[in-house]
């Protein structure tokens, strides 16, 4: 817990910690494909949990502002990461439409400020509330593509990441939620659903990313299905950019 007047305190850059969790390409020897930027509130507070951090901001009607601040910090704090790897950021669907067409220009300006090429960026769209304007949503996603970034749909299989969102988002990546992934090696229902999503992604010309891989058995099952991009504690926990030393990054590419 932090002292009262949380919101003002929490929206300051020094209150927001940015961690990066690698996404691996396991087509050959595993190598880092991208780093997902993740935002956390102050350590030791309730807001260390991203669920509580963003839920609090939503109830304070500041979720869109928090999204923008966190994205700016992810881009700025990704400077020390290798430029060959892509960067992914998270945004709520409602944030894309809330600013009346201002999100894509905002993102373009932040990319320029941080010196990140738009083609390196993947924007992972998620939504937990039915509070965005579906009519403006597809146009907002197109505006993102127009500035040169890729769009992913996050949390596939849970919540509001449903078929409608797939149609409206037309994502380049489908990121499967850990709920479907964890334990898939020994759960035929999870496995069948993963196969189904993989086949659906192929037909939609999208690439599957599976998150939440914690065991070799689950990883082996994902390989069997054909899933090429994976993320999870089996490979690396989220950590600050500075924690990835050059030496570690090189070894991550070579082995893992």
């Amino acid at each position: 817990m932090v002292p009262p007047t949380h919101l003002d305190t929490l929206l300051r850059p020094e209150s927001i910690r940015t961690l990066f969790q690698p996404i691996y390409d396991i087509a050959g020897d595993p190598s880092v494909f991208a780093f997902e930027g993740l935002s956390r509130g102050p350590a030791g507070s309730n807001f260390e949990s991203p669920d509580i951090f963003f839920s609090y901001a939503r109830h304070k009607r500041a979720e869109h502002l928090l999204d923008r601040i966190c994205i700016g910090l992810v881009l700025e704090r990704s400077r020390d990461l290798p430029r060959e790897a892509r960067i992914s950021v998270n945004v709520h669907a409602s944030t894309l439409t809330a600013g009346g067409g201002t999100f894509a220009p905002f993102l373009a300006a932040e990319l320029h400020r941080a010196g990140v090429e738009p083609s390196r960026l993947i924007v992972e769209v998620v939504e937990h509330a039915l509070a965005w304007n579906p009519h403006d949503y597809a146009a907002s996603v197109d505006e993102l593509r127009a500035i040169g970034v890729d769009v992913a749909l996050d949390d596939i299989g849970v919540g509001l990441s449903n078929y409608r969102m797939m149609i409206d988002t037309r994502p380049s990546y489908l990121k499967i939620d850990r709920y479907l992934v964890a334990g898939c090696a020994f759960d035929s229902r999870r496995s069948v659903i993963l196969e189904s999503i993989y086949e659906l992604a192929e037909k939609l010309a999208a690439t599957v990313i599976a998150e939440g891989i914690e065991t070799e058995a689950d990883l082996a099952r994902l390989r069997t299905i054909g899933i090429r991009f994976v993320q999870g504690f089996l490979f690396s926990p989220p950590q600050p950019a500075a924690a990835f030393t050059r030496h570690e990054l090189e070894s991550l590419r070579a082995t893992s």
Partner: protein, 126 residues
């Protein structure tokens, strides 16, 4: 209610010294305590965690003087079995009736010595 959940406690109060005193006291007696000072923080916690017990002040530093009732209502939607204690320095028959309707088990006048509060709570959970 399973034991771990019955000892899982959310305390909501905007008086930080009192809140910290309650946290330390109940932690000492083996409760697993989360704290919040604001309505929105409490609601976010209730949305994402499970509690067996809520101790909540009626008035917080917000836009309403009845934010505690909003939190009680949210907790009741989240859990039918949670025990709920509402603290207030502004008790009245109307408030007692409304709190009861929302599922408050105990409406307690402030200030109250912590050992007495714990006795009341443990009489609810036994």
């Amino acid at each position: 209610m399973e034991r771990a959940l019955s000892r899982s406690l959310l305390i909501v109060d905007d008086e930080l010294p009192l809140l910290m005193a309650m946290k330390d006291y109940f932690t000492h007696f083996a409760y697993d305590v989360d704290c919040a000072t604001e309505l929105e923080e409490a609601v976010a916690l209730i949305e994402h965690r499970r509690y067996g017990l809520l101790i909540c002040d009626l008035r917080l530093n917000g836009t309403s003087d009845r934010e505690g009732l909003n939190i009680v209502s949210m907790m009741r939607q989240s859990s039918r079995s949670a025990r709920i204690v509402l603290l207030t320095a502004h008790n009245s028959p109307d408030l007692a009736h409304e709190a009861s309707q929302l599922g408050v088990h105990l409406l307690v006048n402030k200030p109250i010595p912590l050992p007495h509060l714990r006795e009341l709570i443990e009489s609810l959970t036994d």
